[in-house]
């Protein structure tokens, strides 16, 4: 097996776990969104890697090139990236409004306020 081998997939898994860990372990609402982004980006990388065909060039018609990488996963993940952007924007908008009504974006402080209420 040539050099990269399954390297990309290892990175996918590592990124995925890092992102997932941040989402679960961090109490700061913005950091959770960042973690969610890392998590989603690992999936983007996964799809892009999947589309690679050994020895294939970029999927643009040109003279003398016969093997192309599969462009479909790239197209799919473009959609997922746009969805990710929308999710991030919406999540941050919610954080802004949470900050306006609670005065904090720390999960435990918000939790403490809700217990009083």
């Amino acid at each position: 097996m040539a050099f990269p081998g399954l390297l990309n997939y290892w990175f996918v898994v590592i990124l995925m776990m890092i992102g997932f860990f941040i989402v679960i372990a961090h109490g700061n609402l913005v950091k959770k969104i960042v973690g969610l982004n890392v998590f989603q980006i690992s999936v983007f990388l996964f799809y892009i890697t999947m589309g690679k065909v050994d020895g294939g060039s970029a999927p643009i018609l040109a003279e003398g090139i016969e093997v192309y990488s599969n462009p479909l996963p790239h197209v799919l993940i473009l959609t997922a990236i746009v969805v990710g952007v929308a999710t991030t924007a919406l999540g941050l908008a919610l954080v802004v409004r949470i900050n306006e009504s609670y005065g904090t974006i720390e999960e435990d402080e918000i939790g403490a306020m809700e217990d009083d209420a």
Partner: protein, 493 residues
């Protein structure tokens, strides 16, 4: 000519109405547009189901690209039925929403409310109608993103937190789903659900396919709030505006369960999953725990919207239990309960919306004497509550009857007993509300009748009436659900 385009119109009507509602910007006009769009899509889904029942599977190829290369919309008895659930609830919620939303959402945001409701509707319809696994993800996100916005429109600031939590959990669920789709695509090279169903059995021993199956099931279970992945649901339902709660409780989780059925029974239908991986027992245990935990936690809730939310978790447990039997009767019970529970819970949450509007609170303590002050609403609540319990002559009874029948078919007396026992817990939580509302005097002795506006009462009575009607004459719904189940199991063997 128009009949040939019905499948795309189903999605297109709400999807086109959404940006138009954004442009109209006035509460009244955007409401009227939503009303027209939701009734039009109800008409389309009825026409589609009739055509499916008469002619069999209806297929529509987008851009005339043949499947499996293009995206196809594929309607059989199962998703035709689910389409009816979504568009029926949508068509009934929109007239109901008018007064409720005026009271609960800021004026300048009302047009956004209807935009988001239409988007959510088209997303849910899209999940149901599409025959393409990745397209399903796109519609899943369309419906999810608009759902987060809808929940955050609630009056209470806790709605923001609920929406945020749902956003995090929902995004993780959806991302799991695309990881699963990616793994299946890697090993089969196809995204078309029918095509996958054909290709997967040969690869059943492939680890990649098995991992894909795990990701798909987990992701969709989060969206469907299958126990123990339900933690986002109670707060989201409790703090969302009443009309949103009605719509979500009746449709959103149902559609996720539908997608789960597609994955388990269609894509992996050819693989003997239940035998091979013990999915059968796992699902059944989770379902039974959900039935009990959901019901018991519901008994201790002071907020009735939250109580009903926990009851929903229990009811999803019943649906999953039906599916886990892996028999035609069991799957029929699950599918028919999708419809029945949508009617019942929709009606109950509508009653809560009326109470929230008139009495200003849905806490149990504030409901004393409501039986006298809001007789119609409380009567509807009682009828809906009876259906949750599963009393004969309501839809709840039909579902439970089939569940018990399926359990006995498997020779499991124990599960049949557990179904009856968990229904008895439902008696406890419904009774608490009845007791306070009917047998306790109003705090200030005020017994003057003050009902919610007619525009809210009529939709509520339609849903509750339907839940009684389909309880007495269940043959229509059972026939369709039976046909859908037979088709699913026919593939699955």
């Amino acid at each position: 000519m128009i009949f040939q385009h019905l499948p795309i119109l189903q999605i297109l009507i709400p999807l086109l109405a959404a940006p138009l509602a954004l442009l109209l910007r006035t509460p009244l006009l955007s409401w009227a547009l939503a009303l027209v769009a939701s009734w039009a899509s109800l008409a389309v889904s009825v026409a589609l189901l009739l055509r499916v029942l008469a002619e069999g599977v209806v297929v529509y190829e987008l851009g005339d690209w043949a499947a499996p290369w293009g995206i196809e919309y594929r309607i059989d008895a199962l998703n035709g039925f689910v389409l009816i659930i979504i568009s029926l609830i949508g068509a009934i919620v929109v007239p109901y929403a008018k007064r409720s939303v005026e009271a609960e959402v800021q004026d300048r945001r009302i047009y956004l409310f209807y935009t988001m409701l239409l988007l959510c509707m088209s997303g849910l319809l899209g999940i149901t109608i599409t025959g393409d696994a990745f397209n399903l993800f796109v519609f899943l996100e369309v419906s999810s993103l608009s759902t987060y916005v809808l929940i955050s429109l609630g009056r209470d600031r806790r709605a923001l937190i609920a929406a945020y939590r749902y956003l995090i959990v929902g995004t993780i669920g959806a991302t799991f789903y695309i990881i699963g789709v990616g793994l299946l695509y890697m090993s089969t090279g196809s995204l078309n659900i029918g095509d996958l169903a054909r290709l997967v059995p040969a690869l059943a021993d492939n680890r990649t396919v098995q991992a894909g199956m795990a990701f798909l099931t987990l992701g969709l279970s989060i969206k469907a709030a299958v126990f123990p992945l339900h933690l986002w649901l109670p707060n989201a339902y409790t703090y969302a505006p009443s009309a949103v709660t009605v719509f979500l409780a009746a449709t959103a989780t149902k559609v996720a369960v539908y997608a789960l059925i597609r994955v388990v029974f269609t894509i992996f239908g050819g693989v003997d999953l239940f035998e091979a991986f013990g999915v059968h027992t796992t699902l059944m245990m989770m379902a039974i725990v959900a039935m009990f935990v959901g019901s018991i936690v519901a008994v201790y809730q002071g907020n009735i919207k939250r109580m009903l939310a926990y009851s929903s978790i229990a009811q999803i447990g019943y649906i999953i239990l039906g599916l886990s039997f892996d028999s035609v009767t069991g799957v029929t019970a699950g599918i028919v309960h999708l419809f029945n529970h949508a009617l019942t819970k929709g009606g109950l949450f509508m009653a809560m919306g009326c109470i929230a509007l008139v009495a200003g609170s849905v806490r149990l303590d504030d409901m004393a004497g409501l039986g006298k002050r809001m007789p119609v609403t409380m009567a509807a609540f009682v009828a809906g509550g009876l259906s949750l319990i599963g009393v004969p002559l309501t839809v709840g009874f039909v579902s439970k009857w089939y569940l018990i029948k399926a359990a006995l078919e498997q020779g499991s007396m124990l599960i049949a007993m557990l179904i009856v026992l968990s229904s008895l817990i439902a008696v406890a939580y419904v009774w608490r509300v009845v007791e306070v509302a009917y047998f306790r005097d109003p705090p200030d002795g005020d017994t003057a009748v003050r009902e919610a506006p007619v525009s809210m009462l009529v939709p509520m009575l339609i849903l509750v009436g339907a839940s009684v009607y389909f309880g007495i004459d269940a043959s229509t719904t059972l026939d369709i659900a039976g046909a859908a189940a037979a088709a699913l199991m026919g593939v699955g063997g």
